[in-house]
Homo-oligomer: 306 residues x 4
């Protein structure tokens, strides 16, 4: 099996590498806009401990929205089902930063993977921990099995400075009494969470916990219950790709999450986690080559869930 | 394996049968409102041809919105990918009969399993066939392997008479030039499609085609391609349960579709199709006992996809 | 004073006649689309009984939405303040045929001069009268002092056939229980009301009742109370020009109502009613030359209310 | 005439004083919540220089949203018609602080008297002046003919601290590129503008400029053109009372503006300006007794414009 995956990844890499794509690197902040658009890496880690990677899979990038899954996991671990009083579990059917639905639904975000929902999660972490920046990072380091994972303070500061729409979201929620802490503190945590840097290798190994029913593969420690892992996988499946969730579900057929840094991570429950990185994004904000690679990978391996 | 499924279904049936549920039978039309609310049946059919059933699994009921999957399949078979120019594949994030999003998106429905989308599918069938009522029924009979399946004209007429919100939907789409045929003809097909009557046994065996990569199990005939079956399964996963798709995806973790007649059908790709029927609905319009049974079934068998 | 108004109207007519306008004749139905776009007439009638007219002021045209004021007046006369339980008095801030707000506000239209509100008024008239078509026409003939005023059955039938968006509106309201009668009967009255034909002369003399505190000038008969006339004038001021009410209020500064047949009528309370007709419409659906003439007229006479 | 107005105001004062009202003092900020709810004053000033007042008409209160008309006037004076590229002139049909419509219309507010529109006006003033706080106050002092008019820094600070929804509005507009200056600077001006304190006497005399075609009555100086005054009056008529504009237009029939401090000011073009103050508000945010007094006043004097 090992040889197979390595062979498939390399083959796909070369096929997709040369397909011209019309995507664009995220223009929001200087730090991300300067990334070499031709970076391309992929890494697959199995629940058996096998590792397969190719291309720029060891190079760190900004995981951005992928971090929302990690902060959600910590909050869910701490609060259990009570979490869903503050945020829903349904797809939004709208762009990731829509105010509209949020106003109509009186400040309760549709799900924890759109911006408003991830901000509520950060607010919850601010209430739970004295030093949430420290505790979230410690948690991420623990499930990744890697004490070197870190925030990028510069990226966090830069995004915070320009994040007017996110500021609109949190102020609206605050006016609806769904934010308990100071706006500045919550947004600080939010943007740090988005600024976490990982390589494909690190990302795949971190997300292996969702493929392994909530247990860290390397240590066997249970971070969340099997049911919680199932819940998070279901949320990734229906809400992980903004308003391209349906298209992604069809094409890839695995729970996953994308970030505007060009990363995508996907999970095959019981089997593996796979991370891809290519900075050029389609109009919905998802990595073009990342989507292509995952689509062909699941078709080739027959491992789509549909 | 055979004994196992039969045993599990019977056990679940008796456990769930006695749980008090606060649901209500669909009040929309007299014909459905008069159903005995205590009816309860379940049937599971595997791609190997095995059959397991219990309770009222041989009794026919109105499949209602479950029929949307069947009309979609016929239209998809005929039109291929061109279908998606008229209707999307994304979850709506709104109730099944919302006008709002439809107006904002200029008459193109979010997906083919909400009412507006299913109406567009019926319009497409009206254009494709001289006698769409006949051809849709013939198609359903073929994939079910059952020449006795039929419409209930009385239910169709009754629903059509009271379907003011659906009339609003089709008129809005007509004004946006996304309906080609006469409104009356299209709605006639729509309400007949919803009025189809099947037992759990018939429903499970009909939907086996989606678990079997588009091939009819009994004859081996390929009705749609494997990719088309995957696409329909993905749509069922993300859009099959109105605005409870996220909750259902978490709890059941299988592509499926519900109807306000109290039926639910779910597919485990490669393995089986299972149909449940219990007329009392939760506030989102999905069968309470049906959801419970599928949730525990997937947990017991470990066959959730997450 | 008499000579003055006649002189002003003639002068304005010739000035505006030659201004090129980029407007378009309403394309909705063949009967209206065939009108000579160069028709242009104006008539002003005072509460003292004076009459001033110029251009095609004796030629009949389809008053369309202007008729909404007349049906509102009859319903208001019959129901009094109870009318406002079924329809509001606030500007909509949206195009005249928006479904959106209507769905959000659960089927209660914003005001009686947008399509949905005028349809509710017709529903009320259908409940009040055995033969509402006859009684509405009798009422219009009475306040116009002209027994020759009539519907145009052909225009009514043609508009009804193509009125999909209005059909969406009434079906939505019916589903919200804000329509009591058969949809077909209500829409029949609605489209007949819109099909009434008047010349500028007839229109100005009909609307004189709103400038005369609810009394017919020629007979002295009180049709509605002074307070009711004030209410209707206020509604015309804030809601009479779709989503161009603010612009119109600034430019013209008189209560008024426009129709897609190219007519506009405006009232100077206590003084006069003035009707203009020119079929070419701006993007908001209001007559281009009609707006221009009224704007300069109020500036010249200093009779704007602001 | 003089004796008349004084007599009418006193009579109305005593009649309305004893009517029980179910209104509530604005609860948003401590400074306003502590106002004696029984305060009640009225002042009417004519373009001839006559002054009539009664009750607490000499006591200062927070003019709040009434200030939006003053900042609009300064911006309009400076920018002319170019102003309308940044903000519309149509009624919103929505509550004063809705995000919804603003998002749909891509950050361009409906009119300058809703919060979002008034914030854009403040942004324009921040661009126009080096010290906008100083220049706006100087302008207000000039048209009021009163060098003692001032901001209340404490109220401004308190409102700014709790103004989450306004913060959402400005951040949304900033993300849509309709705010040029620093958010903090703009909101500082906005909340200071709202914190201006005037008595009924001062307010009526300040707003006399709109009844006097743009000229200051005491000095004869023209602050804005006659056409600009007409435009501002028209905007007050259609947009001055949030989503109660239609009701107010009917009842009072004069251009006006209300504030949540309990003040209302209304203008009879060519004749007078009248200011009322009573802190208890109806559900739409308008002073209950203020509305009553103006309604009866216009009925008594026959000076409604309808």
């Amino acid at each position: 099996m090992k040889a197979n995956y390595q062979h498939i990844l390399e083959e796909l890499y070369h096929v997709i590498k040369v397909i011209p794509d019309g995507g664009q690197v995220a223009p929001y902040i200087p730090e991300l806009a300067e990334i070499d658009p031709n970076k391309f890496g992929v890494h697959l880690a199995t629940t058996m401990g096998e590792q397969f990677g190719y291309g720029d899979h060891e190079e760190k990038f900004s995981i951005q929205s992928i971090g929302k899954v990690l902060s959600l996991t910590l909050a869910f671990q701490q609060k259990g089902e009570a979490l869903w009083e503050r945020v829903g579990v349904e797809p939004s059917g709208n762009p990731f930063n829509s105010l509209w639905q949020l106003e109509y639904e009186k400040g309760k975000p549709r799900n924890p993977l759109i911006n408003s929902g991830a901000i509520v999660i950060c607010d919850i972490l601010c209430t739970l921990f004295d030093d949430p920046l420290h505790d979230l990072l410690a948690f991420i380091r623990k499930i990744s099995g890697n004490a070197e994972i870190n925030y990028n303070d510069e990226v966090a500061a830069s995004e915070k400075k320009l994040g007017f729409r996110n500021a609109a979201l949190i102020n609206l929620m605050k006016s609806c009494h769904n934010i308990d802490n100071e706006i500045d503190e919550v947004m600080d945590l939010y943007y740090h969470m988005c600024s976490v840097e990982m390589s494909c290798t690190e990302l795949a190994n971190t997300f292996l916990v969702y493929a392994n029913h909530g247990k860290i593969v390397s240590t066997g420690e249970s971070v969340i219950t099997s049911s919680m892992a199932k819940r998070i996988n279901a949320i990734m499946q229906t809400c992980g790709f903004y308003d391209e969730a349906g298209e992604y579900t069809f094409k890839v057929g695995l729970p996953g999450k994308s970030g505007i840094g060009g990363g995508i991570v996907a999970i095959h429950p019981g089997n593996y986690a796979v991370a891809v990185w290519s900075p050029k994004l389609n109009k919905k904000g998802n990595s073009v080559k990342g989507m292509q690679l995952l689509e062909i990978l699941t078709t080739k391996t027959g491992l789509s869930i549909f």
